[in-house]
Every structure is written in structure tokens, then in C-alpha cells.
């Protein structure tokens, strides 16, 4: 008798475990956030937002295109209410499928047009600048390239690193395509494939430059800024080169936030997005260790960063960056 009770216990336990992923009705005022931004920044935002509004936020972390594709696959059934990314191609992917609800005017008005989708279905929440991180010991400042396009030239063979697998670099490629056209981008990628050393992440690229394994790398500015702000363990021997002059290499990438059409808590979801690019959310960003640029002109970026107006970023509609096409071009060039 005891044994059979044990067996029943086993079975019941298994069923409970098997069901626990979907069990339990969600609490009404909980917003599900698909977060492709850095986890620590998202955590600071969510903590502050919940403290101010009482709205709870459940966070699912992932990467830009992973989560964007997931939302597309999930369609109307997606548990996501709000989606935030590091870069805009993932936002355009969801936008193209018509899965975003229009952003409420209050949130739209909080950022200038360069930092929001022309379709008004998502808004910028932060921005990051493309840079060349370089090791002055291996690459004196007077030999720096004038344009990111130069890095495809033969003199850069074996001298430049970048992380092709990540959404950051893919966004930079999409910006090159948006400014220079597909043919030039294809050639540029071929050159990078010949010249480049591929790394796993921005940090790994910067670390390799810092260690003198490679003279230069293509990353976003804040990886260096963050490391310098701490102990500089991975950046002490490395410097940043901003391309400026509306060069594709001066691309300022917009991190976006939007509300899913399928959201069952649209009011709370809109409130979260309006918070993110509103004064409170932007102040959290400016005061955080994230060191990304603020997109709300009312809140200046962290004073450690060169002012956004001096970056000379090329004018690009953030909703026009084509992620899937970029991936295809990178596949053709053998970078993916």
C-alpha cells in the first residue's frame, strides 16, 4: 500500500512539474517585458517603474533578433506586452509585421523624430554610437582610418576585429547599407571577411584590442566607457576613435521600445514605454552605469560621454534598417 502511494506521488509530482510552466492565472497588473537591452539596465528601469506605479513587470531576457523573431512566431498569442531592444532592426522586424500598437502621443513627443519609428509604432529609449576601439601601441592615432569603409582595404588585413554574431554589429552593417547602398555594403563585407578576426561579443573584441591581440575593433562606445568608469581592466590600453562627418561609422543606433498589439494590459504597457523615454526613465539611464545616450532632450546624457551633438551621426530613419536583409548579406559574405 505504501509503495502504491509512492507511485501515485511520483505521477502527481511529475504532472505538477510538467504543468507548472503554464499554471496559475497571471496577476492583472503584471506587464511582461521582452528585454533585449542589457539586463542590469532593464532591472534598474523596472525597479524604479514598479516603485513609482505599483505595476509589476516580468522580464524575459534575450537578444534583439532572437526575441523579435520569437514575437513574430508567437503572433497574437505572444505573452509579451512590451518589447525593448538594443538596436532598431529588431524593432522594424516586429513593426513590419504590424504587431506593434501605435505609441501614445505623450511618449512619441518625448523624443525627436530621429529617435522614433516613422510609423509611430515604437520610440527610442536610448542611443549608442559606433566607434573604432584601438590600441595606440599597435595603431598610432595618425594612422586611424577616416571612414569605417576603409577597413575593407588590404592594409587592414588581420588588423581589425568585430563581433558579427551580435545584433550590434548587424545594426552597424544595416546602417552602412542604408547610407551606401547594397552593392558597396556587399564589397565592404567581403573585405571585412578577408581582413577581420571574428569575436563573440563587443567585450571580447575590446578585450582583444586592449590585450594587443589585434590593433583595432568595431564596437559601440559604451563598452569602453563602462569599463573605464570601473577599473579599466579591459580598456586601460585602448582608446576610442569616433568617425564623425556623417560617416556610416558614426552611426548612432537607436534602442527602441514598443507595445505589442496583442497585449492584454495595454494601458500599463503604454505607461511603461512612456516612462522609459520620459524624464524619470531617462534620468535612471543617465545616472546608471550603462553609459548609453539619452534620447529625451530634457535629460542630458552622462557627462562622461562626448556630447551627442558632436558625434556627426549620419541621418537615418531608424525604422528603415533591414535586419533580415543584413543577415542575408552577411551570410553571403561568409560572416554568419
Amino acid at each position: 500500500m505504501r509503495v502504491s502511494r509512492g507511485v501515485i506521488g511520483l505521477v502527481v509530482g511529475a504532472l505538477l512539474l510538467a504543468g507548472c510552466g503554464s499554471a496559475g492565472p497571471p496577476e492583472p497588473a503584471t506587464v511582461t517585458l521582452y528585454n533585449a537591452q542589457h539586463e542590469d539596465l532593464a532591472q534598474e528601469w523596472v525597479r524604479d517603474f514598479t516603485a513609482r506605479t505599483g505595476i509589476r513587470v516580468e522580464v524575459r531576457n534575450g537578444d534583439d533578433s532572437e526575441l523579435a523573431n520569437q514575437i513574430v512566431q508567437e503572433g497574437q498569442a505572444s505573452p509579451a506586452d512590451v518589447f525593448i531592444t538594443e538596436n532598431s532592426p529588431a524593432m522594424s522586424l516586429v513593426s513590419d509585421r504590424g504587431l506593434f500598437a501605435p505609441v501614445e502621443p505623450a511618449a512619441l513627443g518625448q523624443v525627436p523624430p530621429q529617435f522614433r519609428s516613422a510609423a509611430n509604432d515604437w520610440v527610442g529609449i536610448a542611443a549608442r554610437s559606433t566607434v573604432l576601439v584601438y590600441n595606440p601601441r599597435l595603431l598610432p592615432a595618425d594612422q586611424l582610418p577616416r571612414s569605417i569603409m576603409d577597413l575593407a582595404g588590404p592594409q587592414w588585413q588581420g588588423r581589425v576585429g568585430f563581433p558579427p554574431g551580435g545584433a550590434d554589429f548587424q545594426a552597424i552593417v544595416s546602417a552602412v547599407a542604408a547610407t551606401r547602398g547594397e552593392a558597396a555594403t556587399g564589397q565592404w563585407l567581403q573585405g571585412l571577411e578577408t581582413n577581420g578576426r571574428l569575436y563573440q561579443s563587443n567585450t571580447a573584441t575590446m578585450r582583444a584590442v586592449n590585450a594587443g591581440e589585434i590593433p583595432a575593433g568595431i564596437i559601440y562606445h559604451y563598452y569602453w566607457s563602462k569599463d573605464r568608469a570601473e577599473a579599466g581592466a579591459n580598456s586601460a590600453n585602448a582608446e576610442l576613435h569616433y568617425f564623425g562627418n556623417q560617416d556610416p561609422g558614426a552611426f548612432l543606433s537607436t534602442s527602441g521600445g514598443g507595445v505589442l498589439r496583442s497585449s492584454d494590459t495595454p494601458r500599463e504597457a503604454q505607461a511603461l514605454v512612456a516612462y522609459l523615454n520620459g524624464p524619470d526613465g531617462q534620468r535612471v539611464l543617465a545616472n546608471s552605469t550603462a553609459l548609453e545616450y539619452t534620447v529625451n532632450p530634457a535629460v542630458p546624457s552622462n557627462p562622461r560621454l562626448p556630447p551627442i551633438a558632436q558625434l556627426g551621426a549620419p541621418p537615418i530613419d531608424p525604422n528603415a534598417l533591414d535586419g533580415p536583409r543584413t543577415v542575408q548579406m552577411m551570410q553571403q559574405a561568409g560572416l554568419l
Binding site: V3, S4, V7, L10, V11, G13, A14, L17, A18, G19, C20, G21, S22, T32, E39, E58, V59, R60, D63, S65, E66, N69, Q70, V72, Q73, E74, A77, P79, G165, Q170, L198, Y199, Q200, S201, T203, A204, R207, A208, A211, E213, N234, P324, V327, Q331, Q332, G334, L335, L336
Partner: protein, 521 residues
């Protein structure tokens, strides 16, 4: 039971009510479940248009991946076969001092997941990135898969083979080569096959070494394009490589007769004295243990000390540990439930279908975790959205991957239970469910426990399928470790790695005691 001698067949048919054999139906269902990933790969590759498939498959990058993957498998399996056999030989057959300690140390790297080993090395020096480093680190992680079964065979080997060869005029080296090595062949090849399958599935260790293979490329494609044709076509190639490996092993194993009639009692042979070669053997073993165990544990210790000086995230650590243990326990229960009907049918019934059912449950587990996960993501999203992003789906993936670990143990245990006990219980009025609960299960409990323990510990260090399938808010030790290590936050990754090593240690012990082939299938 039997129809009886005097009963006509027609009468027998009338007397025995035709009933659905529940065990067989359940077994077929389980086998079908384990075949889902293979079916997915076939259907998905067939579904991609020829133009798209051609563009995605016939390009330089895929050639590079093929070269990398095949090169790594060849080099590392060879290295593991040589290192594993040599180490086992020295420890079992020679008089090297401290043999039991060495044997335990040889198996101990099994407690260090390959991706933790890789993390330790790469945080020590970036020189290990690339092919050479990948071969070095995977060899250090996987040689026990060869060393342990070879050691087991060597221990049971009758010295008479070698002595007869010597007596018939062969020199000492030729005698070993012609009379002993052939007897080791199944153990070496079986171990090498395991190494090969693990290499094809390895993700974390190689990603960290910047050495792209099909598995890492599938993960990158999944991140860039979700479960699209780019990922599934690469998965199809990877599955082909797995099949080539499985068939190749069958071929190489050959049909040579290795048994002998009337083996009698093997004479105990004294270990061969090493004489002046003793320091050399000791140095070799020590070097192996330092590289395979000393480096990862030493570096881990260093990061733990440095990391704990900044912050020790007790809450996250505790949460990830609890999640991991919960998933592992859930999977152990689930695999037990799934393995029961298959093992029961395999032991109690005969026939071609039964054999196919039993074998097929091994196929899912020889596929890389990334393929199984990709299949389940696609099947769930397209056909059964309710289970997408649930713990249930993750547990199913684990079950497909680790079912044989329970199956093998359970089958062995069931085979020892005489069917007559069932009949006796039935004749005393116990219903079939009661027989299972009161007779069969108590008798196989030990085998079940061992199998479940192996499943439990496999789940603790599973990374790839967990990365793709873990639902919202589910972080395991492996995914937390990976998140930090991937961001080059080596100190922050260390506590998670240390916990995984601690939790894996019992598995390593179990494997040394039970022998690799039985335990890992």
C-alpha cells in the same frame, strides 16, 4: 498464458478477450516522441525550397564549418583514444605507485563540464582560442570516456592472450599489438564514438574558444533568424554527421569473435614493474591530471576569491540552484515514467517492432541538444503554441536527450525480475496496475535510482537546449554561468561554475563505479 494443449485455437481466441496492450502502445508513443527531432530535420529540410537550400548550404562558410567540425572530431577522438588508452594502461597494468588514487583522478574531469574547462583556460590565456586549443581542451574534458571503459576491460583481461603470443614468438610490443589491442577495440571505439557525439553537440566550450562548428553556427543562426531555414539546414548537416559517426562505429567495431569457449578463471597477473620508467609514467599521469583537473579547478578558485571580494549574489545563486534542482528532479521523474513502458516491453516482448521501438529511443539522445531544442521550438510554435515557453517543453527536451540513461539501467534491472512473479501476483487477484506498483517497481527500484541520478546530473550541466527553451524568468546554473562568461565577466561566472562542479561530482563517481558505456548508453 498458454492456450493449453487440448484447447482448439478458435476457442482460445474466443476466451482471451482482445485487449489493447497498454505497455506496447505507451512504448510506441514514447519512441515516436523521441523521433520528433529527427522527423523535424527531415521535414524542415525538405520544406526549404531548393534555391533557398542551395544558397544557404553551398557557401564558403558552410565549407569552413564542415572542415572545422570534421577536423575537430577526428583530432580529438584520436587524441582521446591515445591518451585514454595509455593512461588506463599505465594505471591498470603497471606497478605505478598510487594506482587507486590515479584511477579516481583520471575519472575526475568528468565532474568539470567542458564549457567550464574552456572558460578556465580562456580566462587564463587567449592563446587557447582556435583549433589547437579546441583539440587540447576537448581532449582534456572527454578522454575519460575512453580511459574508463578501457580500464574496465584491462582489469578483466586474462593475461593468457599476451603470454601465448609471446610464447609463440612475438616480441613484447607485437604481442600487445596483435593479442591485446584487438580485445580493447570495442571499448576504445565505443568510447571514441561517445567523444565524437559529444563533440558534435558541444556548444559552450567551442563558442568560448572562438572555434565555430555546426553547433555554434546553428546557435548563431537561431539568434539572428530564430528557427528559420538558415538554422534548420545547418541542423540537417549536423544530423548527417551524427549518423555517419554512428554507422562508422558499427562498421569499425567489426564482427571479429572476441569471446572464447570455456574462459575458466583468469589468472591474476601481477602489475608490470616499471623500473626506471616509473618517474616517466608518474610525470605523464601528473601532467594529465594537472592539465585536465588542476587548471580548471585552480582558475575557478582564483576567480571565486577575486569575485567574492566584489559581490557574491546569494539570491540569484540560490534561485538558479533551486530552479536547476527542480528541473533536474522533474526530468528524472519524467524520464522514469517514459522509460518504464519501453524497458518493460523490450524485456518482456519479442519481435522486430519491439526492437525498433527500443533502438529508436536512443536516436533522440545521440542528436545534439541544439537540434532537439530547435525541433521542439518549431513544433511548439507552429503546432502547439500552448506549450511554447513552458517548463513542460523544456522537460520534454531533457527527456528526449537523456532517456537512455534511465532506460539502460531500468532494462538491466527489469531483466532480472522473473515474469513468473507477475503471474503469481495476478493469480492471487492483484490487478495489472497493482502488479506494477507492488511487485515490479520495488524490485527495480535500485536500477531506477541509479538511472535517475544520471539523468539528474546531466540536466544540471545542460546548456544548449536550456538556452533555447527555458521559459520566462527561468535561469539555471548553466545559463547564468553562460550569461556572465559570455560577457567576459569571469569573476561573476565563477560561483555558478563551482556549484555545477560540486553537483556533478557524484555523477563522475557513479560513472567510475558503473562504467561509462552502461551509464551514458
Amino acid at each position: 498464458m498458454s492456450a493449453g494443449l487440448t484447447t482448439a485455437p478458435a476457442a482460445a481466441a474466443a476466451r482471451v478477450r482482445p485487449r489493447v496492450p497498454f505497455g506496447s502502445v505507451a512504448a510506441v508513443a514514447v519512441a515516436a516522441l523521441t523521433l520528433v527531432p529527427l522527423g523535424f530535420v527531415l521535414v524542415a529540410s525538405a520544406g526549404a525550397g531548393p534555391a533557398e537550400a542551395g544558397a544557404l548550404l553551398f557557401r564558403a562558410r558552410v565549407g569552413e564549418l564542415l572542415l572545422n567540425t570534421v577536423g575537430l572530431v577526428l583530432a580529438t577522438t584520436t587524441a582521446c583514444a591515445v591518451v585514454g588508452t595509455a593512461a588506463a594502461w599505465v594505471v591498470v597494468r603497471t606497478a605505478v605507485p598510487g594506482r587507486p588514487v590515479w584511477l579516481a583522478l583520471l575519472a575526475a574531469p568528468l565532474a568539470v563540464p567542458a564549457f567550464v574547462n574552456s572558460y578556465a583556460w580562456v580566462s587564463l590565456t587567449p592563446a587557447v582560442e582556435g583549433f589547437a586549443g579546441a583539440v587540447l581542451i576537448t581532449t582534456l574534458s572527454y578522454y575519460p570516456f575512453v580511459a574508463l571503459p578501457v580500464a574496465a576491460v584491462l582489469r578483466g583481461l586474462d593475461p593468457v592472450h599476451e603470454e601465448s603470443a609471446r610464447a609463440l614468438g612475438l616480441g613484447p610490443v607485437a604481442a600487445v599489438r596483435r593479442a591485446v589491442l584487438p580485445l580493447l577495440r570495442p571499448a576504445v571505439l565505443g568510447g571514441a564514438l561517445l567523444v565524437g557525439l559529444h563533440l558534435l553537440a558541444e556548444f559552450g566550450a567551442l563558442q568560448m574558444l572562438r572555434f565555430p562548428t555546426f553547433t555554434t553556427a546553428i546557435y548563431d543562426a537561431y539568434e539572428a533568424t530564430f528557427a528559420g531555414p538558415a538554422a534548420t539546414l545547418l541542423a540537417a548537416v549536423l544530423v548527417l554527421l551524427c549518423l555517419v559517426l554512428l554507422v562508422g562505429e558499427l562498421r569499425l567495431a567489426g564482427r571479429a569473435r572476441l569471446a572464447r569457449v570455456g574462459s575458466g578463471a583468469a589468472r591474476l597477473r601481477p602489475p608490470r614493474p616499471l623500473g626506471r620508467a616509473t618517474p616517466l609514467a608518474l610525470a605523464g599521469l601528473a601532467a594529465l591530471v594537472v592539465l585536465a583537473l588542476g587548471v580548471p579547478l585552480g582558475v575557478l578558485g582564483r576567480w571565486l576569491v577575486e569575485g567574492s571580494s566584489t559581490a557574491f549574489p546569494l539570491v540569484e545563486l540560490g534561485a538558479a540552484t533551486l530552479t536547476t534542482l527542480g528541473l533536474a528532479a522533474g526530468c528524472a521523474v519524467l524520464t522514469t515514467l517514459l522509460a518504464l513502458p519501453v524497458a518493460w516491453v523490450a524485456v518482456r516482448r519479442r519481435g522486430r517492432l519491439i526492437r525498433i521501438v527500443e533502438r529508436s529511443s536512443f536516436i533522440g539522445s545521440s542528436l545534439p541538444g541544439i537540434v532537439v531544442a530547435l525541433a521542439l521550438v518549431t513544433v511548439a510554435v507552429r503546432g502547439l503554441p500552448v506549450i511554447y515557453q513552458t517548463t513542460a517543453l523544456l522537460l520534454v527536451a531533457y527527456a528526449i536527450l537523456f532517456l537512455p540513461r534511465t532506460m539502460v539501467a531500468l532494462r538491466a534491472a527489469l531483466a532480472q525480475v522473473p515474469p513468473e512473479l507477475d503471474d503469481a501476483a495476478r493469480s492471487l487477484g492483484v490487478r495489472p496496475a497493482g502488479v506494477l506498483a507492488r511487485v515490479t517497481l520495488p524490485l527495480v527500484a535500485r536500477g531506477l535510482g541509479a538511472g535517475s541520478a544520471l539523468v539528474f546530473l546531466a540536466v544540471v550541466t545542460e546548456l544548449t537546449a536550456t538556452l533555447l527553451l527555458a521559459p520566462i524568468g527561468t535561469d539555471t546554473l548553466a545559463t547564468e554561468f553562460w550569461g556572465h562568461a559570455d560577457a567576459v565577466a569571469y569573476g561573476a561566472a565563477a560561483p555558478y561554475a563551482a556549484l555545477m562542479v560540486l553537483l556533478s561530482a557524484p555523477a563522475a563517481y557513479l560513472l567510475t563505479r558503473r562504467g561509462i558505456p552502461e551509464a551514458v548508453s
